[in-house]
């Protein structure tokens, strides 16, 4: 009997039966998936569901880029990783799960940070790039590498209860820089670790990315090119903004100024990976050891020094210094008069990032006496009191 399976085995035909039955997709779509290669940048909240569904769907080769290891705090949303993989590299944890989901998928793990000196070499071998990174420097790097290599960039990003998704493909529409030519100042946009994230949110956004990836490969439907989909989990609303290509875009515009990859940490004003996520060196600060000395000598009251906690009330409930007063970051601009009563301000938060931003802001408002507690509560837990609850 003659078959048109064209390389798909009998077992694969059984596995993909529900795809083959779809008239719009069929054997041709399945063969395209099998011949395709997809690179996932980041195996966090977005990359985890994307990887699982793309594997199940039958994408022939899946590349995984992530330098990190599985942490307990990942498991609330990064569903590809399980309890047994704690402490293991995410790319290996994900590879094992993918093999179990679908042994016909070839997995290529890259246990490394994506950098300007490896991005082009890695990207070159893939048809579609899926951006599930967790920082701006990597997002601009992914965008620029995709533009330079003419690859579609299936972009997803999340914050707390909200997500953004689009397909950037400079030959056919705008790129990420057309929307956001300048990164936000370091520290202005907190990470998931800083801000928290609803665990199910990246599941939905990641699956929109997976859907767009399958559509691009199979050549079906209307891709999310030139459209930004915005999702709010609390309101359960989807909005869509029609995007436009910026003729002056520095990389995909009519006269590009960026013709090779740049230094993205410098561009975003962030230090490299494995260091503190934000540049807190620019603000006056004290260490947690110095803070302990001052707390134990009870000199805060004597010197009219205020210890200010700029976290949210729910964080205050988890842990705080008894001597501290709570002024959540966003209330600081309205409460400057109150703060002026102090002779000195020691500002802390969870990791020292938000408080550094507050101290920077206070200095612009004339508070030359404001100092950041470097490393925040995390540093206190690490260096002073291991019984401090961390979150």
């Amino acid at each position: 009997m003659q078959t048109a399976a064209n390389g798909l085995s009998a077992a694969e035909l059984r596995r993909y039966a529900r795809h083959l039955t779809l008239p719009e997709f069929g054997l041709e779509g399945q063969q395209k998936l099998r011949a395709a290669s997809v690179l996932l940048v980041g195996l966090g909240g977005l990359g985890a569901p994307t990887a699982m569904y793309l594997a199940a769907a039958g994408v022939g080769r899946i590349g995984l880029v992530d330098y990190d290891v599985v942490d307990e705090s990942n498991l609330q949303r990064q569903v590809i990783h399980g309890q047994s993989m704690l402490g293991k590299p995410k790319v290996l944890s994900a590879a094992a799960r993918i093999h179990d989901i679908n042994p016909y998928v070839e997995v290529v793990p890259y246990q490394t940070a994506l950098r300007r000196d490896n991005a082009l070499d890695i990207f070159r071998d893939y048809d579609v790039i899926v951006d599930g990174a967790d920082n701006f420097a990597t997002r601009y790097l992914v965008n620029d590498a995709c533009v330079l290599l003419d690859k579609p960039n299936v972009h997803g990003s999340i914050f707390r209860f909200e997500g953004q998704v689009s397909v950037f493909w400079a030959k056919r529409g705008p790129c990420y820089r057309c929307l956001y030519p300048e990164p936000p100042p370091p520290g202005m946009i907190p990470s998931c670790a800083e801000a928290g994230v609803l665990g199910v949110l990246p599941g939905l956004i990641g699956l929109v990315q997976a859907t767009e990836t399958v559509k691009l490969i199979a050549g079906i439907g209307a891709p999310l090119i030139g459209r930004l989909l915005l999702y709010d989990a609390l309101d359960m609303t989807f909005r869509e903004v029609k995007l436009r290509k910026d003729p002056h875009c520095p990389i995909c515009g009519e006269q590009p100024r960026i013709t090779e990859l740049i230094d993205y940490d410098e561009f975003c004003g962030t230090p490299g990976l494995h260091t503190h996520p934000f540049d807190t060196a620019a603000v006056p600060e004290i260490t947690v050891h110095e803070l302990r000395r001052r707390l134990e000598s009870a000199e805060l009251e004597r010197t009219n020094t205020w210890l200010v906690d700029v976290r949210e009330p729910y964080e205050w409930q988890i842990v705080h210094f008894p001597q501290a007063r709570l002024i959540p970051m966003r209330e600081v601009p309205q409460r400057l008069d109150e703060l002026r009563q102090a002779s000195e301000l020691l500002v802390y938060c969870r990791s020292g990032a938000r408080s550094a931003e507050v101290v920077r802001y206070l200095h612009t408002q004339g508070f030359k006496n404001a100092k950041n507690v470097r490393g925040g509560i995390l540093a206190w837990a690490r260096e002073i009191d291991p019984n401090t609850p961390v979150y």
């Binding site: 951006d131 990003s157 999340i158 914050f159 707390r160 997500g163 956001y180 936000p184 903004v241």
Partner: protein
């Protein structure tokens, strides 16, 4: 006339409200809109400067006009993954 500006993600969180209001005598440019909002909320000026501005659900460049009756939304970039 009062222009209502919807804000999202970090802007919504930092402003403490999902919408901001701006009194307008007539049309202004997107660039002026960013500046006016920044005057009202100086601590958010840098975010207004970098947010995506959508006018009537379409991306708007800095030189383009905003009417007081337009539907205006500001989406700051978010980076979580």
């Amino acid at each position: 006339m009062t222009l209502t500006v919807q804000v999202f993600a970090t802007l919504k969180e930092r402003a403490g409200a999902p919408t901001l209001s701006l009194e307008l005598a007539g049309p202004i440019t997107v660039r002026e809109l960013r500046a006016r909002l920044g005057e009202q909320h100086p601590e958010l000026a840098e975010l207004f400067a970098r947010a995506l501005v959508a006018v009537n659900r379409e991306f708007a460049f800095d030189h383009e006009a905003v009417q007081p009756t337009d539907e205006v939304a500001l989406f700051p970039p978010v980076s979580g993954g």
